[in-house]
Amino acid sequence: MSEHGHGHAAVYEGGYTRLQINRMGLWFFIISEAFMFLALHFYRFLALGTYKPEGVNVILGLFLTAILLASSVFASQAEKAIARGDQKGLERNLLITMGLGLFFVLMVVYEWSVAFAHFPPSTPFGSIFFLTTGTHVLHLLSGIVILALVYLAARRGAYSAESHWGVTAGVLYWHFVDVVWLSVFLSLYVL
């Protein structure tokens, strides 16, 4: 996540610091990832309109949304903790975030087992449902791996109040995965 480069970036036009450059790169990456989900929704609405089969569980979808929103709160707390130099708070909040993420994955797997009976992947809606939620789960799992690496680095004391780009990046990515879930929820459960 951290990109050291040659270090004297602040001399360039606009005076961007290394931290700002890293942050901009991550944002561009996030924009690109958002287009991946846009493509999935593009298929969903172009092919199926707002068609929704029997058995889409909005209540379960709301519950999933709540888990993720809660995890984002803890992720944000983790970043705030290290910003004031609180190592223990950082580690604790990271663990809770990852735990909620894992819980989310388990709930999605449970949901898949139910959904399989109503709209299996061999139907068009089932195809886009499983691919979209599957893509999201893969993003979430990669988010958990990233936060786990951040956690290991935090245990080694790699971060301080002044320098914690790794935490910021991991948390920003986590927020993205949560926000993009809202679009998944709207596209597949609500509309």
């Binding site: 480069g5 970036a9 846009l38 493509a39 992947p121 061999s122 290991l152």
Partner: protein, 598 residues
Amino acid sequence: MLPVFRGLLWGLIGFAIGALLTALVRIALGMEPWVFGPLFFVGYLFGLAGWLLGVGVWDTWMREFLGMEPRPYKEEGWRRYFGFNTDHKVIGIQYGVTFIGMFLLAGLLAMAMRIELMRPGRDIFDFATYNRVMSMHGFLMVLVAVTAVPGMFGNYFVPLMIGADDMAFPRMNALSYWIWPPAAILLLLSPFFGGWDSGWTAYPPLAITNEPGQMFYNLAFFTGGLSSVVGSVNFLTTIITMRAPGMTWGRVPIFVWSIFMTSIMSLTATQFVGVAMIMTVLDRVAQTAFFDPARGGYPLIYQHVFWFYSHPAVYVMIMPSWGIMLEILAHFARKPLFAYRWAVAGMAGVTALSFTVWAHHMFTSGMPETLHVPFMATTEAISVPTGLIFLAALGTLWRGKLRFKTPMLFALGMLFNFLIGGLTGVFNSDLPADMHLHDTFWVVSHFHYTILGGGIFGLIAGIYYWFPKMTGRMYNEALGRLHFWLMFIFFNLTFFPMAWLGLHGMNRRIGDYPPDLAGMNMFVSMAAFILGASFLIFVYNLVVSWIRGPVAEANPWGARTLEWATPSPPPEHNFPRVPEVLSGPYDYGVPGAVHAKV
């Protein structure tokens, strides 16, 4: 061990793990375990991860994450090209050599196609094989057209032209190159699994029901898309944050602008083709119903998702070459770039409109007729910003002191070819005409005029223009001009008659045609063989000049942009210190104007 070999080893291990895991899961679910499709799909994804870890991701990022000292790849001489080297100049050369090789290979396939088409009826291929050769030619050339200029010149010259010491993310830059070899391996292996016969566009339902070689195409496209995304993140961030002090947006060289606009398109639209590829593979291996009409899927939607990327992609192919063309025209006409701001606006306009025109590829597909006229209108509107770029080129030439060196010849050739490409395109965008022109050789003529006559002419112009900077040696001017005249004349003799052939009923993507078109096809084939042979001169010139050409000066063209203000080839960090930019890069003939203090 060279990182390439470690990458291969780890990649194979990854493939085995992925395939075995899939087999185990399939046994657990009570399915037949040893089925090629799913095992290969998951195996490839694991293999790709293994390759990337082995070739350099482990040594750089993972060791750092795990608290160990990273092991950057530092080698000298030829070995520096065979590892995870983060120097943007090394990466530019890696891209260049790889994609020129790919270009020549795809060119040989075109020669084979022209042998088959010399006479009507079946000659050297059966018609199924013809379609596989045509598909491979098309796809390899598309990859070259999309990647060669940004990969080779973007990486090499964007940091130099803006006065930076490297890209914003040097390690990600290395990653963007090393994602490519697995895609190349897939494409080379595809013929052993039946190849694919659905062209470079691979529409379902054919792409769901044909040989397993189709999947190699899908996964290679997906992999290449990954590299595009990584590369464009890097270009955008570099251009925004690492311009030398004084290099305001109004002083950025036009080539850098073209890479900036190109990156906006690759950053976003590429995800669509990635999704389309994965959906097709899932339809093949997991019995999903995205595009398969047999399971209630929607084959037409594939075309929407595919062209939502692939139409912006044709501007990804041409825009950086426009940048090269405008650079060269200004430097060799010894005049300020005419209407610089309008040229940039033109590029921005093309970029914005490129997202709104995709369904003009689908006028005959049976899509809802309400979409016809809007897409015709947007498509014709895109010629307005394109015209701005054209006018900037003409205005720059107007009353300039033209110096007809090889790069200038290719830039002028590109201007001419692209004009014909643009004019033939007007008929394709026009609904009533396109109903008849669709899928004929008219279209083949049109897109070869834009992509080969435009994009690749720009690439070759750039190769001659920057050859002294990249290699430190001068190419042979006489051979360069000979190459230009052969290529320019026989390019036109090959592709202009194709428009006529299309109007007279010759269909594309079929290895046969009505017998009365035999004479013109023989003519086209002969012209194509000479066009192909002209590349022997090109390759000979490059190889011999690189080995023992005369040593090049720092600035053989007297050009003003920053890459010429440093030795040829540039030292490791490009400039002794960060240059200070004082005015625009194209103030030729302006007394006392200095672009930058280095």
